[in-house]
Symmetry: C2
Subunit: 260 residues, 2 copies
DNA sequence: CAGTGGTCTAGACCACCAA
DNA sequence: TGGTGGTCTAGACCACTGC
């Protein structure tokens, strides 16, 4: 595994560890270093480039984070096999890509009410008192006058903070909670399912009944891990898709979306 | 921002940087350190615990990776606001969770053929030669005799490697490619959509027509970023769901699935 | 046992920021 | 200008691996 020594400039503004990481990454991506093969030892690399071993370790840790190599104490550092089975989908590509595409995204408030928690909501919010009151929002998300999503959101009602008109336009559940509550949501759980529209949902979205949609249930939690917000949203299946990548990714891999 | 000095044991087998990271994480999760607040400077922390600044930096880098703090050169290190808008869904939870649940997962080969690339496939594989031949596999995934998913996979055909019976049972596209090809798939792209079953799909899965399903299109790429495999799979909407988390997560947050 | 990666130190110099 | 985080060094000792 020859490594061209020229490629590192100690006086560059680019950190040495970064240069070295990119150099090693290049060796792997070009096939010079194949999965399963060992990198030179940290001491060897340090000697080759006349740099400190700590700097070498910093470079290797970059590659480890990227999943391209893995180290084993007492044995060495080895090129990993690309993992292709853990593709992750980022849900927020959705609206972000629509904005990036230059389309105007608007939120339409269908209604905001104070409701008493029914059995389902008591369970979701892990509450005992059936008199607990919740704020209930119904909104429709549109791009260029085309309705794309229908969202139903519940948050715990506290009188301490008044509800401001501007808050209601915040399309995110966490935005609503922080605006109308003193608690800080610190974690969230989302469940993604598929379904078909009911008559009511179809009419709200202006599409046909039994049309395929994404269903996203979100639960927001505070520092004590107690639910402080819950929402159920549906996204039109003919307008939304999730894209995900995995493996040894080049930067130019991404891009592109379908707005149909 | 008081930090109890007792909590670090320099002689413990647990690394100092890890102890310190957990200590700071505890301060943040308990609310002692709130979003926006500054941590003590690295030199201060090093002095407090009489440890090296590099060790402090290692601890902080752990928290930075976890998204709990962020550093600004020349200013300091600050507690971040939890990011709740980038939930990621891991697709492979699917079959993994079914296995974890103790159910037997089986793959049924409906057919394996050599086909000539049509226009759609030529475009997908970025090929010019219309005589290019591809291997085409159709499989059904079942758990405990219930059919869950229907997969159609195409890989580039090379005579060099014979197709073995055992290879055909490998349910993953990358498994098929590596088994029947000399190229190494290094990256993958997946597109997740929703749809409803056609008559043919419904009959293969043993469910009704127009039932909601996940549609996953996967493209595998080699080192030169050329497509070497492509598949289109459908997953029953009443049996599959994706779960994702974001924010400041405690380990005990996860778990649980719906196999209906 | 020798060789590997994992941790840690006590310095150093730098780029950046705010006053 | 003084204080911050960012980088880098030249050591040290350790735990683990395989012979």
């Amino acid at each position: 595994m020859m490594i061209e020594e020229q490629s590192i400039d100690k006086n560059s503004v680019i950190p040495i560890y970064y240069q070295l990481a990119k150099l090693l990454e290049g060796q792997i991506l070009s096939g010079e270093l194949k999965p399963g093969e060992a990198l030179p030892t940290e001491t060897e690399i340090a000697g080759l480039f006349e740099i400190s071993r700590m700097t070498v370790r910093r470079a290797i840790s970059e590659l480890t984070s990227a999943g391209m190599v893995h180290s084993q104490q007492g044995k060495g550092t080895f090129v990993s096999s690309p993992k292709l089975n853990n593709v992750v989908f980022e849900l927020n590509n959705f609206n972000q890509e629509i904005k990036d595409f230059g389309l105007k995204l608007s939120t339409n408030l269908l209604g905001a009410h104070i409701v008493r928690a029914d059995e389902r909501l008591l369970k979701i919010f892990q509450l005992d008192n059936p008199n607990t009151r919740l704020l209930y929002f119904r909104t429709v998300l549109s791009a260029e006058d085309e309705r794309l999503a229908y969202e139903r959101k519940y948050i715990i009602y506290t009188k301490s903070k008044p509800i401001l008109e501007t808050n209601l336009m915040d399309p995110t559940l966490s935005g609503l909670v922080t605006a109308n509550n003193d608690v800080l949501p610190v974690s969230t759980k989302k469940i993604l399912q598929v379904s078909i529209t009911t008559k009511e949902e179809a009419s709200i979205l202006g599409i046909g009944s039994n049309a395929p949609v994404f269903v996203v249930e979100e639960t927001l939690f505070d520092l004590e891990n107690k639910p402080v917000g819950w929402s159920k949203s549906i996204y039109r299946g003919d307008r939304y898709q999730l894209t995900g990548y995995d493996g040894w990714l080049r930067k130019d891999n991404h891009g592109g979306m379908n707005l149909g």
